[in-house]
């Protein structure tokens, strides 16, 4: 590589040509700015303000700058720690279970002995195609002590469980999430498996590795980036848990309005406390961002 002067053509491109890539980016950039950057920016701006009021019981409001006061309020709310711990526990239990299931299903589909691959791939994926609210409502019926055939069956077998009671409700929610997203994660892992060069598998077979050894020693280590990634995005999804608990509120007496951080933000906004809701949303976004960043670091190191 010599460092002589570069050809002038490259240095002085016509203005039109220089703008061309940005023009192509516009269809992405405009909605991105309008519907992502501006709302997030506004939420941040709003989270730094508070309401002040003059003139009696129904006085007039002014929005005044309050620094990080709202953030301090959020962190000191009793629900804040509870809801974060709750989604944390949820993540610790539900994510490994779901990913293990997804991995097993993906490996089964990928194995040479599997039959009806297309059919099963579709079947596993179907729950993800069902809108979250619909899925939650459906499961709600399956959990309800008075309506559920499952609870009836268990009762006739001599066990009485309250799937919507305070002890089991988190597991019940976890079950819905697992049901919805296992197939989706399976598909990511499966596509990673499919992308592995066929000769690796052949070489393993020639060397005398059985199905189990191939899976544990070769396939799983090779799709590790895909596994890490499903894990981190499941973590993000968990921290944003909203639909299932919101739907379950209408049938279970065990889900409060601040059950998860996202639900709490929604409740605060419903109560006209927009600034604190914004602060909580920004905090949540910050956690999400940190997790995504950690993920990128992890995978790039592995690939580099």
């Amino acid at each position: 590589m010599t460092t002589t002067t570069a050809p002038p053509r490259a240095r002085r491109r016509p203005a039109r040509q220089a703008l061309a890539p940005y023009a192509f980016l516009l269809p992405f950039l405009v909605p991105f700015v309008l519907f992502t950057l501006v709302p997030v920016g506004y939420a941040f701006w709003q989270s730094l303000h508070k309401t002040e009021r003059t003139g009696g019981t129904f006085g007039h409001t002014h929005s005044v700058f309050a620094g990080f006061e709202q953030y301090a309020d959020v962190v000191h709310e009793p629900f804040f720690g509870d809801s974060v711990v709750r989604v944390g526990v949820f993540a610790l239990v539900q994510i490994p279970v779901m990913l293990l299931l997804a991995l097993v299903l993906a490996l089964l589909l990928d194995s040479t002995v599997a039959r009806l691959k297309r059919f099963f791939r579709l079947v596993y994926f179907v729950p993800y195609g069902i809108p979250g609210v619909v899925a939650a409502v459906m499961w709600a019926f399956l959990y309800d002590p008075r309506l559920s055939p499952i609870v009836d069956l268990l009762k006739s077998a001599g066990t009485q469980v309250d799937l919507l009671g305070s002890h089991l409700i988190l597991f019940s929610i976890g079950n819905v999430v697992t049901w919805t997203y296992t197939g989706y994660n399976m598909l990511i892992l499966y596509s990673a498996l499919q992308a592995l060069p066929a000769d690796i598998g052949e070489a393993a077979r020639v060397d005398g590795a059985g199905g189990w050894t191939t899976a544990t020693r070769i396939k799983i280590p090779l799709i590790r980036p895909a596994l890490v990634l499903t894990g981190v995005f499941s973590l993000i999804g968990t921290f944003q848990l909203f639909t299932e608990p919101q739907v379950f509120r209408t049938i279970s007496t065990s889900v409060t309005s601040t059950y998860t951080p996202n639900l709490a933000a929604y409740s605060l906004a419903s109560g006209d406390n927009y600034s604190e809701a914004a602060a909580l949303s920004v905090l949540l976004a910050a956690v999400t961002f940190l997790l995504s960043f950690a993920f990128l670091r992890l995978t790039s190191r592995r690939q580099g």
């Binding site: 709302p39 129904f58 596509s191 995005f233 007496t253």
Partner: protein
Amino acid sequence: MAIGERTSSLIRTSLVRRCMVGAAVVALTTATGCGGGGGGGGKDGGADGSSCKPSSGKVTLQYWSWVPGMQKAVDLWNSGHPDVQVELKTTPAGNAGTYQNMSNALKAGNAPDLGQVEYDSLASFRLKDGLRDIAKCPGVDAAQRKFVDWTWSQVGFGADGRDGIWAVPQDTGPMALFYRKDVFDKLGLKAPTTWDEYAADAVRLKKAGKYITHFSQTDPNWFTGLLWQRKATMFQRDGDSWKVTVDRPESRQVADYWQKLIDRKLVATDLQGFSPALYKSWNDGEVVTWISAAWGYSTIRDNAKSTAGKWAVAPMPQWHPGDQQAGNWGGSTTAVLSGSKHPAEAARFALWLDTDPKALEILNREGGLYPAAKAGLDLPALKQPVDFYGKQRIFDVFAKASADVDNGFTWGPTMTDTYRFISDGTAGAVGGKGTLADVLKQTQSQSVDSLRKQSLDVTG
């Protein structure tokens, strides 16, 4: 990098999907920005309220409501008033999203002229400058005598019009006791007239394998109806400051009473209001009474069809023998919103809608509304025996209840929060964590906090 590419494109879709709900929340918290950050108190419904002159020329009014059949009433008005046309937008129920939309529209400056607002939400809308004072609009002052007393007290914030009139009462929810007469008869029980009798009946029913009622966590406004009956006010306005009076001896009496029923497992605590499971237990005869509002007659009729003819209605049980107190659950008003350019016409329409016998008849027949106008209580439909209730003239009970509702009940300006605190606390209480008395104590301090966060002057 085949793996990387495939997976990352898949992930993008996943992120989009998973974050959708989150984004909706962010959008909710941010969508209010259009109006420019709280306005700084520019527009003032109260101060302009001194004048309310009719507009000249043809006027078109926007109206948001969720009452079934409202379009028919609006059509009737439109056919007789070519100069004042009303355009109705049918919305979801208030707390199901419409209030939020109204708040956002108010900030954005494109709110409708008229909106359906429940009594318990009037204060919060007034707090955000959302309501237009219509006291000086033609015909409003004279309309006072047309309405059941306590409803006028609600729209005037308890000040007899000295503090403005902020909406026109539309319907109410005077409460009474719906009960399975056949079950009570079979056990040799009469409709309980006091809460003590009600508790005693609960024991008898429990022995017969039935719950006297359900204690729902999702209906905090049902609980406030019970407090209302006990004259336990939740909020008071004291000069320039608010006073939170949620945790008082009167309200504690109500809380302790129900806590006892919960502790002795005499009420079903795993049934939410208006849930399919509740309807099933009505049909199965597992739950046999419901203390509910006048509009509740259609809830039972439509959802417990297999029990037709077996229910009856009696006045609410009383705290002291011989008392005559009723609570109120729900009911709403027609409010002129603060941005309206035609408050006089809007008020005129609201008065017509809520007092004209033909309009009231439509709203009662189509929407099941129980009128706030005195004349409405004499609608032919409300004088008829009702088949579902064993041909009882049930609305006579509600007409009496309507007159027995206390005038002095004041809603706070942050009821959404207060309801949430009651509801969350109740979740704990029915789950064995804490008691309803604790719920009152917590709701008291949390409500004080929530008023402070709205920068209101408040005393505990």
